[in-house]
């Protein structure tokens, strides 16, 4: 099972601006000026120098909104959410398969807020005859919301004009589904208008997609249910949008969680890897690097005698093999 992140930012897309890029170039050149003599004389040396830089200096977490691809055996493709990251995913699929090899895409929508749907009109395979998109979700308004965003005056191409075959399937919590060779379960989460997390299992591996979810610290039943949903997952994509102090104070009831809650839940569930996800658009790359380091420290402090939990931070383009 392989997980690829195409969009990891929450709420709305962001990108580096010219001044941020300039500052980054200056900081890299400053480092280069102090590199040992000869380090930068060869292509291999220069590549090694770049790879030695902190992630926030040599890369970027990216700014596309949520879209995660899950590939299983038989090359089955599942997609979690259709944020703006779906554009890149669609382009990659078109580049690989072209119009001559129709594909089926099983898409799981966490909820109907626009940052999780805005990529569909730009998902190339939608317009190719023969492709089949099966859009799964737990909201009764799923189909209406998708049709609404592809209608005048919000978008120039009406949903009725797409040439791929689109189906909508409503899922229920509390039961398991067999979809494209995966065992799939949904869990209702605390978020404005509700959101749903999904647990995918195949051949003993498990990926949990749990974004846009606020974990109230005084809701014991919800806390326990979440631990059960995360139980022994190989990877959890977790809404780590806010610091804990923000989450329980000024941004309480905004429907999002924090890195510390993610570490606590994942440790309690015996999960193997936690991916910080749904990054706050206010956080730049350096802030996200610090958040990751903080999260790893907190995991080490909180682990006690439990097996280690690997904490990573999702970025656009990251691929994780389970």
């Amino acid at each position: 099972m392989q997980v690829q992140f195409w969009g990891t930012r929450g709420s709305l897309p962001v990108s580096l601006n010219a001044e941020q890029l300039r500052q980054r170039l200056l900081s890299v050149l400053e480092k280069a000026a102090h590199a040992p003599a000869g380090t930068l004389d060869t292509a291999v040396g220069r590549a090694g120098f770049v790879d030695s830089l902190p992630f926030a200096m040599r890369g970027t977490y990216g700014g596309q909104t949520p879209c995660v691809e899950l590939r299983g055996k038989d090359d089955a493709t599942l997609i979690c959410d259709l944020g703006s990251g779906a554009r890149g995913l669609g382009n990659a699929k078109l580049a690989r398969f072209g119009p001559g090899q129709p594909q089926t895409y099983h898409i799981f929508i966490s909820h109907l807020h626009w940052d999780h749907l805005m990529g569909l009109p730009f998902f190339g395979p939608l317009y190719i005859p023969g492709n089949r998109l099966v859009i799964h979700g737990c909201h009764a308004e799923l189909e209406a919301a998708v049709r609404l965003q592809m209608s005048a005056p919000g978008f120039p191409v009406d949903f009725s004009l797409v040439q791929g075959q689109v189906e909508f399937r409503l899922l229920e919590t509390g039961r398991a589904y067999d979809i494209a060779g995966f065992r799939v379960e949904a869990m209702r989460q605390t978020h404005g208008g509700d959101s749903y997390g999904y647990r995918f299992e195949q051949d003993g591996k498990c990926f949990v997609y749990a974004t846009d979810s606020e974990h109230k610290l005084d809701q014991e039943e919800q806390w326990a249910a979440c631990i059960e949903f995360f139980r022994e997952a190989d990877l959890i994509a977790f809404d780590a949008m806010y610091s804990l102090s923000e989450m329980v104070s000024v941004k309480a009831d905004w429907g999002h969680s924090s890195n510390m809650i993610g570490v606590e839940l994942a440790l309690a569930a015996g999960a193997r890897r936690l991916a910080l996800f749904h990054h706050d658009p206010l956080n730049d790359d350096a802030s996200l690097d610090r958040l990751l380091e903080d999260s790893r420290r907190f995991e080490a402090m909180s682990r006690s005698r439990r097996p280690p939990l690997e904490v990573i931070s999702a970025h656009d383009g990251l691929t994780v093999q389970l």
Partner: protein, 114 residues
Amino acid sequence: MELEAVVHPKANLVMVRGRIDHGSSMTFSELLHPHLEKCKKGNPPLILNFSGVDYISSAGLRALMIATRFARNQGGRLGIAEFQPLVREVFGISRFDLVIPCFDTLEAALGELA
């Protein structure tokens, strides 16, 4: 989880001992409440000595957030002092050190709050 009031001329000083996690945060809140009720306008500040606290989780931090609000609403002053290094680090990671007055020493807390 244990709280012990210590006589002090300038503050309501409370020694806190143990772990404040999901299992004990409720007890911590209950034990803290009588001290919080005295943390009001005109009274000495409530200072929690955390030298005996060896771990605090998100639930414990939330309990402290609620306590801080309670004290503020009464016009009282509340601070935490004498952290173990790991616990102090958790306050930084959670950014709670930006919303709850934190002090390295009791003297520093008294200097600011008393």
